[in-house]
């Protein structure tokens, strides 16, 4: 399988009054054709910024924008080098994105149907009439009844679950090669979440689309992912094939995360919890950023940053425990 998306040493730094925040610091990852990759991590780990950089939504051309460096190759082109017009032909057409808040992602003063028609007219050059027919077909496809009536309604008339379906309808309207979904079910109830995840899986199977799914929910990761990337404080700390990562996690952070999530029908008297909290992004020194919370912290962890290196088959981890030369030194 060839790579559809390849992010190489992406850096996104924000200058703030208090100092530089390295929101994404030297992150590399790839998504193959037809594959679902999940980026998992807690608030502030840089997972959303990574996704937004792919779409060119944190551009470096704006005066007040962040410093962006690295490469994002999509289907042979470096997205960070494209100008606005070139990006427009890719956004919505080849890469589509859905967000966490379906309530705020749609235009409140435009009927639903018009919003689905827009990319069809813009990218696929359909006539208004053809676009309208296709929009209604799409609404039906995402499992909403009475599509003609829904096409005429406004976002505030629909529930969160329905709006997220509409977002998916817009996202798949131009048969994108890559769907980026940033916490797509976080704001939804579990029964609705189950519907949306089912639908994403089904569309992926039908069209060989790749999915880059960003989530904090390990349950969603286990259900959706082929490959998982774990981020912490702007860095990738571990990545691997989903079964391997869940059954044999290597990084102490991944292990802690998996242990601290309560799981249905596996009740324990006391939950494992990772002590402390995420470090302040302004106060990061060369070190493993997890060292203050790590049970197996060594001297080297406090002063030197571990490199992401391959361990086992098709997995990588950034942790001094797996750097043999150091451990035995």
């Amino acid at each position: 399988m060839s790579d559809l998306l390849e992010i190489d040493r992406l850096k996104v730094y924000f200058d703030t009054r208090e100092g530089t925040v390295k929101a994404v610091d030297d992150v590399s990852l790839r998504v193959r054709r037809g594959e679902t990759v999940c980026i998992v991590g807690e608030s502030g780990c840089g997972k959303s910024i990574t996704a937004m950089s792919i779409m060119g939504l944190v551009g470096s051309n704006a005066a007040a924008g962040p410093f962006v460096d690295g490469q994002i190759r999509f289907d042979g082109r470096n997205l960070l080098r494209l100008d606005r017009n070139e990006l427009r032909t890719i956004r919505g057409r080849e890469i589509a994105m859905i967000f966490q808040e379906p309530m705020t992602s749609l235009n409140p003063v435009l009927p639903i149907g018009e919003q689905i028609m827009e990319p069809l007219i813009e990218h696929l050059k359909l006539s208004r009439k053809a676009a309208r027919a296709r929009a209604i077909e799409l609404i039906r496809k995402v499992g909403i009844s009475r599509p003609e009536q829904i096409a005429k309604s406004y976002p505030h008339e629909l529930s969160g679950g329905m709006l997220q379906r509409i977002m998916i309808a817009i996202a798949i309207s131009c048969n994108p090669k890559l769907l980026i979904a940033d916490e797509p079910t976080t704001a939804l109830d579990v029964t609705i979440q189950a519907q949306i995840l089912d639908m994403m899986r089904q569309f992926k199977a039908d069209s060989n689309m790749s999915i880059l799914l960003i989530t904090h929910d390990l349950g969603v990761v286990a259900e959706m992912a082929d490959y998982v990337v774990v981020m912490y404080s702007g860095k990738v700390v571990e990545e691997g094939e989903v079964v391997e990562l869940f059954t044999n996690p290597k990084h102490p952070y991944t292990r802690g995360l998996l242990k601290s999530k309560p799981v249905i029908n596996q009740r324990q008297d006391e939950l494992y919890s990772i002590p402390g909290q995420v470090p302040n992004p302004l106060e990061l020194r060369p070190s493993c950023y997890f060292h203050e919370r790590c049970e197996r912290c060594m001297d080297v962890c406090r002063t030197r940053e571990p490199r992401l290196r391959e361990v086992g088959d098709n997995g990588k981890v950034a942790c001094w425990l797996y750097e043999e030369a150091v451990v035995h030194a």
């Binding site: 807690e42 608030s43 029964t191 609705i192 189950a194 969603v220 006391e270």
Partner: protein, 321 residues
Amino acid sequence: MPEALLEIRHLKKYFPVKSGFLNRTVGQIKAVDDISLSIRPGETFGLVGESGSGKSTVGRTAIRLTEKTDGEVRFKGIDLYGLNAEELRRLRPKMQLIFQDPYSSLNPRVRIGDAIGEALLDHGLAPKEEIRDRVLDVLAACGLSAYHIDRFPHEFSGGQRQRIGIARALVLNPELIIADEPVSALDVSIQAQIINLFRKLQESRGLTYLFISHDLSVVEHLCSRIGVMYLGSMVETAPRDDLFRNPLHPYTKALLSAVPIPIPKLKRERIVLSGDIPSPANPPSGCKFHTRCPFAVERCKEQAPEFRHVGGERFVACHLV
């Protein structure tokens, strides 16, 4: 069986729907529609349901933060809705509420020590010179440090703010704590810390919790008995292990099967419910769940099922059970 600490009987809370030029009442939202439950001292009762199910409204009417429409609430045998304002105020320290959003429930201009201590002062529960010591005590109990006492809310992370919220409730020595989605806004690693804190405080102080959450895995972890709500009605209550091993109501089954489990390639039977939760302003006839229930029969559309005892400590409202 010990007497219930909190006894709710046939509680109803309707909100008027107003519309039109004269702002006339045109309908009612039955946020809580005839709910009964009792919570024993020292136990944790979990209330689960999706958004709009009325679980938060139960929490608020249970301690008379909003007025009821009908029904009865007894706290330690005292009829809460029979009290006058002064009597209710004197009882307040015994029933405390913890909110979901630790960001908006603290005044940004008030130092943490004052935010925690003001209720003590207000209720006259401690002389002024003792307050600082009492605040330091609860800060320590909640895993915060003494130097935090003079800090402002913006200096704390989400998890720490939730600890402050807990400390603020705890300083009054309550018997009942109503916790409304207290860990939903927190990251997994912090969530585990707060869940453990809830448990530890219960053990050391004999607290009773009404724990409101949409997250079934958290509820299973913390609660001894659980009630499941749908559109303002209770559909099932059961002891924890019974509910999770053998759910009776089709909605409970669907809810449990919809929770993603962090085990990849796990094969399990899933009941995917079709459609959305209907509007509480216009709930379906008969059993409110019949529009989404995969097992619904003709009778469910016409006749509302009775919430009835089905053995042990289990109650369920379904024609098919």
